[in-house]
Symmetry: C2
Subunit: 293 residues, 2 copies
């Protein structure tokens, strides 16, 4: 199967930090994003233009965007939940926007207080007015903490609605972090024939993320994977879901498998390490804990 | 490829505990082994008949063997370094013995103070007099903390010597925990044509173990994998090497992939959990940290 160039999409500043209870100072976020810009990742999801009432940790999205250095060739994106968020995002001249829904009705209700259909309708004017590439997240694409196993057909149904809206890319997420390679295969068999380019977004709760990523790359030619520097992240609405798979662990897994990835492991760890003092715990990635690589 | 029935070999009581600095009480070890006997694992490596001067933690090997309940159908084995150890092992009527060498000369020198050739000669009378099946470990089979990458030909060379000695099975170990699926493929391509049945023994230091295990199972039909309950273990001579891949994480990975494994995840965690009080830290496995599975 022909593969595109491998692209790692860094979601640590948004997905990694959004649920952290300790406030991360603005300067630390800016330093984090600036450090990530030097790692070789293709994109950085910098923040979310959601109301700070809902996600107080990311209430400083404008300040972060206006103060970071933008590395040439790197795409700086953010989550945009609605038109109000879009106005804020456009004022910051961000490169790309992301909209976020789920394949599970119950999860969507808990997470964004909307049905899947309502969420899609909410995105319609956002995508129409965006004048930028739009990434459409489909979370709980394999397992849902409330509904259990999600059928590939449910994901395909949401994917088609997002594609009809005009998204240019899907990021399909194993939010619970429990998927196995055969489940990933079943999903991709159903999804790839109908979809725009697909990125995969794994959490590593059950230790399956690397196996899934290598399967999707090797067998399906998927070449875009989301990662979070230091393995930051988690999901309060997905009980037990630990962090996103770490960007540096992805970079190691591909490099060790002989796949050119272009992301410097040391630089990713160096970008994330200073956050430990605010998180109150060490980074969760494997590569941040080994003496050499 | 035809696959045999999947067999998980529990090495926690030996490989998992041997380097723990805090003394684990005899009763806790007995309870651990008795608990493991109820999990569905095929074999349990109970202890090591090495001198207690070298491995004080396992100095009570006889006491453990004489006091555990032996579950029907489960093979109870131990590491035997030399003839003196064999005499002790035979006195306990163990089911199977293991001998331990490496594919790296420098590692072997650090670990058992012998060249590979010397170690093989030391095993000769042990295997001859064993009257039991013998497992031959080949550690540092892919990476060595001192020599770096190990060529498959070096592993094949040691494998042939062990097979000539009369071992009935090899356990080939990624001691450093750094191997990738392509490296596992290269090793198995070279090793399988010449070898007796091969078990694989992974550490999960770099987060690659599950990907490697599923590759070896799916593509090569390897059906015996070593695991350590709770992810116990590590290796003082392999800097940075974290624990063995956890037995319960293996069981989950196979079960989630639709492969019948016959090992009860809950029972494995329950067997290992009481050790936390002696280790002074929580279990390292993924499955011991999730709310449900």
């Amino acid at each position: 199967m022909k593969r595109g160039t491998l692209r790692l999409i860094e979601v640590g500043p948004r997905d990694g930090l959004q649920n952290e209870p300790n406030t991360i100072p603005l300067d630390a976020k800016i330093a984090f994003v600036n450090g990530l810009g030097k790692t070789g990742v293709a994109e950085i999801e910098v923040s979310s233009f959601v109301s700070s009432r809902w996600v107080p940790q990311l209430g400083d999205a404008e300040d972060v965007f206006l103060k970071i250095d933008r590395a040439p060739g790197v795409i700086y994106s953010a989550l945009v939940p609605n038109e109000k968020g879009l106005d804020r995002a456009l004022a910051c001249d961000i490169d790309k926007i992301s909209v976020f829904t789920a394949a599970s009705e119950v999860f969507n209700k808990h997470n964004i207080n909307a049905s899947i259909k309502e969420s899609i309708e909410r995105f319609r004017p956002v995508v129409e007015r965006s004048e930028r590439p739009v990434r459409g997240y489909i979370s709980t694409a394999i397992w849902c903490p409330y509904e259990g196993k999600i059928e590939p057909s449910a994901v395909v149904d949401v994917a088609k609605q997002l594609i009809d809206l005009g998204v240019s890319e899907l990021s399909v997420a194993d939010t619970v972090g429990k998927a196995s390679p055969p489940e990933v295969r079943a999903l991709l068999d159903a999804l790839l024939p109908c979809a725009v380019p697909v990125a995969l977004h794994f959490h590593d709760t059950y230790g399956m993320a690397i196996a899934n990523v290598l399967t999707a790359y090797k067998e399906y030619g998927i070449a875009s994977f989301d990662g979070s520097a230091g393995g930051l992240g988690g999901c309060p609405y997905a009980p037990g879901a630990s962090g996103n798979v770490a960007t540096e662990d992805l970079a190691f897994a591909f490099g060790a498998s002989g796949v050119e990835v272009g992301v410097d492991i040391n630089s990713v760890i160096e970008a994330a390490r200073p956050l430990e003092q605010y998180l109150g715990r060490p980074l969760a990635s494997r590569l941040s804990q080994v003496p050499e690589f």
